[in-house]
Structure formats: structure tokens, C-alpha cells
Symmetry: D2
Subunit: 334 residues, 4 copies
């Protein structure tokens, strides 16, 4: 960590600051400049409150030089993490096709969607049982029953299942769930992350709407600090001023996260764009820039079927996306 | 709700959509235009999934005309809600001065700060016991011990206390806490909101970093839907492209929220700006535009005392802010 | 256009508004609802000031149903526009590879870069002669001399040239320039756009840092309204809260703009990300989602050559990007 | 400037970089750390391209320590600049009340508005003659005739006038204009800024929708570098994700700009919020936090008069705002 101290500070103030830092067990390397004195802080600076030092009147600025990631950083684990879920692998060159309905609605619905996406190349089945809704008056999901229906679909198709958790107290219900999703709104629900860190479950951690990539990694670090390193990161769009799409998909997150961390990175083009017609172009773009998987909403309900629209694709449309994604992957890997 | 249907839609498609809507118990008023057919949806449209209809290919756009707030809306409760906490009132012309340290650190610290802010005009004592931190390696607060120390300070000063909750399972620890704060990162932790709705506690609900005012109100609605209408809203800055301040304080939230809701609105200039020198100007601006209170970080620790900086104010600086805020309030009310 | 009028409005107010609208030559279709009266405005509503009506107390909201694009809209020109510049075509399935240095620095530099990018597959040469710089004390480009050097490089390599204009008074200097670039900061310099509309030059119009896609199209409309429809749109990243990349590249702009307009769309991954290592993944992603071209910074200066870094690529790196982009295009078109 | 060089860099690479920097006339102070070597760059680093160095693979990060402002910085001119326009002063404790219609529409309109705002305490008259409009089909203002009408209103009321320029070629038309406004969209139209720097006119420079405060100051620096230091800065809202208000007014800009620069700072609550009902609360908040003036839209047209709404205030509403602003100023100064 580097702290730039103004030369308008008195010698006493500077010495006070330096001795405070040393009191935290940190070595201080001092360079006197014309206008500024630069302090190099050497040691385990991850415990130093950077904002506190930055806020001092005598301090011009503070910069953390080393990344604060201890476990998710590429530096400490140079090889790609490969997540294994039954026969399915994600990361390190293994690509995941996660597909399924936004919400689990009924036995027939989930079985029909599951069967058709499996036939089109999906490797994991997604479906919402507990649904985070902006309004308390909106449908909140089938909850425990939804998980049961997903497990039935798993029995029939053999596909591992992915579903969202909103409350650590629900963990017993997720015992047979293969991948537990943490939604964007809970990315910094640190209490939930800590509890998930105590499980051995694979966690699919979605980036928050207004969270930086560093914050996403710090949230992964919360899970890993608890002992669970089975984490898949997911970019699903960030909130910007543009209102044409629901969110703005930040595909540069894929190569950047691959540089910073060994964890696999998947893209959710359905939630990122909120428009079915944008799912295919964004899915193939994700595959082209090296994503480890895509996560796509597929439906079979009559209102959508009629109108051929919505954020969700029909099973046939999903099949077409899957085919094109595979072609792109062959082109870049071939 | 108004849905604009393209005239490129077939008659069958239009009829299918209209009959689906009617099946939800909604009346439909149809206006045929040259390029578009406008459907007016009349009835309890709060249960209709606006995004679903908007996503249909045949639909140009959908607009919710009525606000989806049932309990926090000004329409249903024209008078200002006045929150009473012991002898302290907030809202309806009653102004709250909430002050205290970022984190409770020790018995001496909290008592010293509490006594000094009480003397300067603070009406409630704030202090963090459970701290949401981006990094798992950062100090997470004194937890239950922190609450105990706050309660001791309450005993000495008589000030009601405000402290943050991060996990509904901790609620038993908050039994004697007067105001339970929900932090920005948990604004859409709907499971936590539901549990708080079951208590009779006053909840101070902070706006999320990237949440709209409507989303803030929908989160208040979650608490109210559970039966608890003792809610104070808090604007604490939103995330924007500007990096000079930690966040951008959105003071227009004060008059806008006052129009939309009957709940009181307080401003936290300390977290919004992240800079001590901006706390006073933003606090007086908040008072000028009608806020029902301010929430300010005050410290007494030696590193800060030396340097006279930081996001936190000294007790003396807080006293000066309190004095100016009172002058402003006299000017606008006088 | 649809205006939703509150039923709290008096009959006189409603009639006053309706007669004002009719006075603008617009037909009004009235639907009385329970809480609201919906006015359908039929006719050439592009001249109606939507904000003015929206701002009236008696008006709940206003929505423009028809897009305000008269010339750049896909509706009025269903086929893709194909821009022809000498032998080079852009749009309608023709892909442009635009490459060159950020700034033209010297005769040797531009010739060396031009020759090497031409050999690697570039079809147009870019280079900055007039440079928009945030600071007046930064290098402002070689200006007229820079254009001369670009023209020499064109003579040697045969590649048409692309360079930025900042002042309509400089147009005489651009007489032999093939493609005139309007930078992000000038996207809404309407006076400049009007002057470019009077020329027959191909204009490469970059999206502003905080401009929506609709605003980008309205700026294209300014050029077309003047009689010039030779326009290439360029997405180059938008400003968001994320600080890891210089800007956030919005690739969903490619399919969205293709739906809205017949004009070709190119992507500038160099400026969008500000990091050389991100140029290749974003360039291939752009090709995968259907962009009509990419625009990439290539350098040959010794400081960069040493360090193999920077927003600019070396000619060899550009060659590798070009090769991969072509493979992706074959995969999606094959 | 401080550059942090990774210790993975070879000695040759480090020496190459250091000799390149020295070649720019900059002294380099070297501190070897465990993981990093910190280079302190001493001398006139304003000419060094920070992005170029930051982009090198061997460089971890670069930080500018000194502000790049040479003329607008508070450091070089500790006293507040007081702008004098006829008898009107702005800055250094002098508060400006700028009021008038969005667009100049007719002789009667501008005279009526001018007379009424003068009576209510306005000290400068604003009115748009050249109007920047997103669409080429929207009303573009009365242009030269609009300026003539403003000058007539000046003759009658004695108030100096403020009006926007969009094209440096129009400068001859602005000869008798007292304050030339540069709109948000032209804040980085550097060619226009340079031309305005050659005049002796007072320039009211508005912050761009997505521009940082540092960029605003660099644009002021463009004008000052040309020799004109008669500049008033104006905050008028920034573009964020919140859609309830047209923009988000960033009032923290007032104290921050006052710290960074000696130039006066005014607030435009009308454009920032886009809603008449928010103008008063934001105007008084601006006065409370130390703004040097406010700029408010006032109208007298019949459509607005009927409905008592819009971004613009009636003259009576403006009078009320002016009265409250004065009370606030007395409270903070008294």
C-alpha cells in the first residue's frame, strides 16, 4: 500500500501517522519528495483500513498495490479451477450450457422444458423455486415444492440442477440441489455468503447490478474464506443510464475475470438484456470472448409460445443458440 | 396499465393476448389507432407481470399508470407518518439528529462519543455492532458485545439507539435496540425485510447503491406488507461515474419521496460523500430541502483527532453542523 | 404519442390541453378510463415537445409510440445500407477492418504502421491528426500535417483513410479524407453534424460516453436531414461505475442498432476498454454478434514495443486479431 | 506523479522506462520495495501521458499527485474570483439569480417574463436563442432574432443577459451578450472553448451529463489557457440510472468545486430535475450549501399557465423561490 502524505503536514503529524501504521505490524518505507512524502507500507496490509488513512487531512491519497484476494486470485492458484458436478465439468476449457425456465411452475412445465433443452445440448437445468421479486405482491415462487419438481426433472433427464437461495435458513431444502445460485441482489449479503462457505456445494455467484468486478471477487472470497472453493462467477449485466436494454451486459468481465481469478465465468444473456432477440447474439459473443458457459431462460408456456417473444427463448430457439455457440467454440479452439 | 400493441399483430394474436389478460381478472379497454392498438388494463394490475407483456413481440410497450404501492404510498395515507421512539419523534415536522461512531469499539469510546453528541443536540445514538465489509478479512464489528455497549450508552445518555442488522437470525440480540438499520447492501434482501415486517421495531431502511426510489419504496412495502409500518427511509448516496466523492448524494430524493410516501426521510451525508469536509454543506442542504433528519458519523479516536479529517466528524464539528442545521430549519419554517 | 391525463384534471383543463394539441395539427383520440383519460395523438407528432406535455401537472405521463427517426430508421429503408469507399464496402455482410495509430506522429511511423496493418488484413487506415484532449496542455495532434501524412500513407498502401474532425471550419482540410470521424465528445455537437450533412463524405459517428442508442440515432438523423446518408455508427464504450476498464463496451448495441437502423455498425474495442489485452477478446465478440467492422489502435513506437502493453496493439498482435475475427465470421456465416 | 513498477519487470525494462521518462525532462526518484518499485516523477508532469505509462505491462499503476490545473486551481489563486457584469457581481459572497424562459419566443413573451423576474429579484436574464435539440426536427430557436429580443429586454429592464452559443462562427452575433453559456453537450467541444478563450466575455460553463468535476475544470482551463478567466461554472445534473428525475443533481459539486477552484459555481435546478415542483427544494438546498447563484427557468405561456406545471416556474413561483433562497442565505451568513 502506498500513502502519499502532503508536505504541508507537520513533522509531528507525519511521525504520529507512521508510528500508528507501525503499530499495526506494518513496515514503512519513506521517500521524501519535493511536494509530497511517499510512504510504502510493507507487510499484510489487507487488515489496514485504506479509507481511514485516505480520509486524513495530511494524506493526499492512498493506493493499494497488491490485490486483496487471498484465495480466489490467479496469483495463488495459477491453474483454472474446474468445477465437477456429476459428469458435468465447468472451467479449464469445459463449457456449461445452463438452461431452463425463469420460474418452476408445474410438473409438466419443468419436465417438458428439461427434456427439450437436454435434447438441444443443455448440460445443467436451471429453474427458480425461490424468486426475489421487487414487489411483495408479486409471485414469490413455488419454494420447497419448486425444488421437488426440479429434482424430479433431474431424475428423468439426468441433468444436475441450479436454483437460487435467498435465505441461509433454507439450506436444508437445498441438500440435493447441485448448484446453489446467489442472485445479484444478494451478492453482498455477507451473512448468506458465510453460510454457503461452510457447505461443500457448488455456488453460482451472480454479479450485483452496481458491483465492480473487485467486489464480485471479494464476495467469492467470503465463500472461500469459509472453506468452500466450488464457485462459478456469473456476469448478468450492470445498471447504466441506457434504458433500451434492462441492463448493460459487460462482456469485458470475461477476459478480466479470467486474468484475476482461477474461477470459471459464465454469462447470463437473458437477464442482462431482458429481450429474447438479444440472447443469441450475446450468447455467441460470450462464447467468442472465452466464457466458460452460458445460462439461458427457456420457456414453454402458451402466452409466450403464441407471441414468440419475451426474455425467454422457446426450446427450438435455445437449440439454435446452442448450435451456434458450439460452432463459435470450435472456431476459436480449432 | 396501458399496453400498446402493434398493428402488425394478427387479430388472433391480439385476441389471444386480450383473453389472457382478462383471465387474470382484469378488464380491458381497447382503442384502435392507425399504427397501434392501445389496451387500457383496468383492475388490480399490481399482480400482472409487466415485463412479461412488454417482452411479447406484438407489444410495443407497456406502462404502469397507477403506482404499485399499496401501503407506503401517500395516496392511501395522506398525512405524514410520525415515528415515535421514546420521547423522540421523526417526521411530520419533527427533525432527528442521529449521531455516533461508525463502529462501536469500546466502552470508553461509545460513552465518550454518546455523551458529547447528546450535549451537541443529537437525539439518537448510532453505532455499528455488525459491520458489512466488502472483504471477509476486514473487521466485522463487535457484534453482540457492540449492542451491549450501545445499550450502556443509552442508559447513561437516555438516547435511543440505532444499529444495523445483517441477519434475521440475530433478531433476538436486537430486542432492546430502538431502531434497526437495514444497510444499503441489504435493501433488497427480501427475506430479511419480511422478518422485520413481523416485528414492531422501527426500521431505518437505507437506499441501495444502485436502487431507484421506486425500488426503495417497494422494499418499504415488503416490511409494511408484514404488518410493520414504523419505517424511516434513508438516502445515502448512489453509485455514479463520478469518483471524487464515494457516492453521489441524491438530494432530490427528499422532495420526491415526500410526494410519493408518508414515511419520514433522513439523509446520511457521511456515507454519501465519504469526506468529512462535505458533511456540513450536505447536512445543511438536506435540512433546507426538507429532510426529516440527518445521520452523521462522529468519532473520538486519536488518529482522527490528530488529523482532523476522515468521513467522521469530531464531536465539536458535529456540534457546529447541528447548530447550522437548526438555523436553516428556523429559516425555512419561520 | 400517448398522453395519460389524470382524472383530477378539470374538464376545462382537459379541453384546453386537447385544443392546444389540435392546434398543432394533431388529431386526438380520447379514451376515458376510471382513474385516467388516455389521449392518443395521431399525425406528425415528431414536432410535439413531449417534455412540455409531460411536465404539465394534469398529465401523468407521455409516451412516444412511433420512433422519431425519419431517415435512419429500418422502417423506412428495410435493406442494409452498404457504404462504398473506393473498393472497400461496409455493411450488408461486408466487414471493415480499420486499423492505425492513435495519433499520426511522423512520416516513418504512419508508413510503417500502414504497411504492416495492410499486410495483416486491414482495409482502412485510421490515425488522429486533430486530437480531442481533456487538457489544453496535452498534445493536440499534428493537425493539417497529420492529414498530409495520412494521405501519403494512402498513396503507398491504397487504403482509404479515416480521421477525426473537431471543427467544421477545418472541412477544407478534409477534402481528400475518405471517412470523417466524429468523436464521442462531439456526438451532440449539432452544428458540426449539420455541416457534415451538407457534404457527401462518409461519416463515422461515435456514440457519446453517456448517450443512449436513441440519441446516437438522432445524431445520425441530423446528418441525414442535411442530405448525407453515408454514415457508419460506432460503439466505443459507455461511462459506468466500473473503473477496471476505461469504459464499458456495450455489445448489445450491435444487434439493437441493426434492428433499429439500416446503417452499418462498427466496434472500437481499443477505446472502449483502454487495455491492449482486452482488444482481441472484445474484437472477436464483436464479430460474433454481427458487427460490420472493428476499429483498432496499432502502434510501432519504441516505448510500447519494449513493454508490449498499452491500449494499442503491435502490428503482429493486430494480425492475430484479424485472423481470429475472420475465423469467427466464417463460423457464423458458414 | 507516482508510477508503481512490478518487480517482475526486468532491469533492462525498468531502465528503459526510467530513461524514457528522464528524456521528457522529468526527474525520477526510485524506491525499491519488496514486490514493487515506486518511481516518483518530479517536474512538470502535466505533459506526461499518464494513460500511456499506465498501459505498460510492467507498470502496476500510475497516480497523478499534483492537480493538472494551472490557472483555475485554488492553489494558484487562493481568493475567490468575483465576476462583474455591469452592476452585478457573482462569487466571493455575491449571489446571482439568473432567470428567464427556456426559449425566447416573442417580443411580448420575453419582455413580460423579464419584467416580472426582475421585480422578484432576478439579477440576470436568461433565454435560449440557439437551442441544442436532440432531434433535427425539433424547434432550434429564434437564433439571431432571439438575441435581438433579449437585448431589447435588457434595454427595458437593465438586466444583463445570458444565452447559449453552439458555434464559434456565431460569435459576432454575441457581441452585446453579457454572459455566453456553453451547454452541457458542448462542455468538451474544445474548439469552441478555445475560441471563447480569445474573447473577454464572461462564460457560463455547464458540466456535461457524464463529466467528472475534474473534466469540468479542465474545460475551464481550456478557456483560461486562451487568456479569458471570466468563467462561471454550472452544475446542472448528471446522468445516472435513476429515471424519476431527468438527471441527478450533484450538490456536493458546490463545496468540492469551491475547494478546487476560485471560480464561482451556480446551480441549475430546472434542467437538473426536469420538474417544476423540485426547483424550489433544490434551489434552497443549493443556497444552503454555498452556491454562488441559481439559474431558473420561468415562463409565461398559456399552456403552462393553465396547468401550473412543467420544468419552468411561473413568475410568482420564481418570486417565492427567490424569497426563500434569500432567507436561507441570511441564515447561513448571519
Amino acid at each position: 500500500m502506498i500513502a502519499v502524505v502532503k508536505n504541508s503536514a507537520t513533522t509531528e503529524q507525519k511521525e504520529h501517522l507512521i508510528s500508528w501504521i507501525k503499530g499495526q505490524g506494518i513496515e514503512v518505507h519513506i521517500s521524501e519528495g519535493h511536494d509530497y512524502t511517499v510512504l510504502g507500507l510493507i507487510g499484510d496490509t489487507s487488515r489496514i483500513d485504506m479509507d481511514l488513512i485516505a480520509s486524513l487531512e495530511i494524506v493526499e491519497s492512498v493506493k493499494r498495490v497488491a490485490e486483496p484476494f487471498k484465495q480466489c486470485g490467479r496469483k495463488f492458484h495459477p491453474d483454472d479451477t474446474v468445477i465437477e458436478i456429476g459428469n458435468v465439468k465447468i472451467g479449464g476449457g469445459n463449457f456449461a450450457m445452463i438452461a431452463g425456465p425463469c420460474s418452476v411452475e408445474s410438473h409438466d412445465q419443468i419436465l417438458e422444458v428439461a427434456t427439450s433443452v437436454a435434447a438441444s445440448g443443455a448440460t445443467l437445468l436451471r429453474g427458480g423455486a425461490f424468486k426475489p421479486r421487487t414487489s411483495p405482491y408479486d409471485f414469490q415462487g413455488l419454494k420447497a415444492d419448486g425444488i421437488e419438481l426440479l429434482l424430479e426433472a433431474k431424475k428423468v433427464t439426468g441433468m444436475p440442477i441450479v436454483t437460487e437461495i435467498m435465505n441461509a435458513n433454507h439450506l436444508p431444502l437445498f441438500e440435493d440441489v447441485d448448484v446453489i445460485q446467489v442472485g445479484a441482489r444478494n451478492m453482498q449479503n455477507f451473512e448468506l455468503l458465510k453460510e454457503l462457505g461452510k457447505t461443500g456445494k457448488t455456488i453460482l455467484l451472480k454479479r450485483g447490478l452496481a458491483n465492480t468486478l473487485k467486489e464480485l471477487l471479494m464476495s467469492a472470497e467470503y465463500i472461500m474464506a469459509g472453506g468452500n472453493s466450488n464457485i462459478i462467477l456469473c456476469e448478468r449485466g450492470i445498471r447504466t443510464f441506457e434504458t433500451f436494454t434492462r441492463n448493460t451486459l459487460d462482456l469485458s468481465a470475461v477476459p478480466l475475470l479470467h486474468e484475476l481469478t482461477h474461477l470459471p465465468v459464465v454469462i447470463d444473456p437473458s437477464h442482462a438484456t431482458g429481450q429474447a432477440k438479444l440472447v443469441e447474439p450475446m450468447a455467441v459473443a460470450a462464447a467468442a470472448c472465452g466464457a466458460d458457459g452460458i445460462m439461458i431462460e427457456v420457456h414453454n408456456d402458451p402466452l409466450h409460445a403464441l407471441c414468440d417473444g419475451a426474455q425467454s427463448l422457446t426450446p427450438a430457439q435455445f437449440g439454435e443458440v446452442a448450435r451456434k455457440v458450439m460452432k463459435i467454440r470450435e472456431a476459436i479452439n480449432g
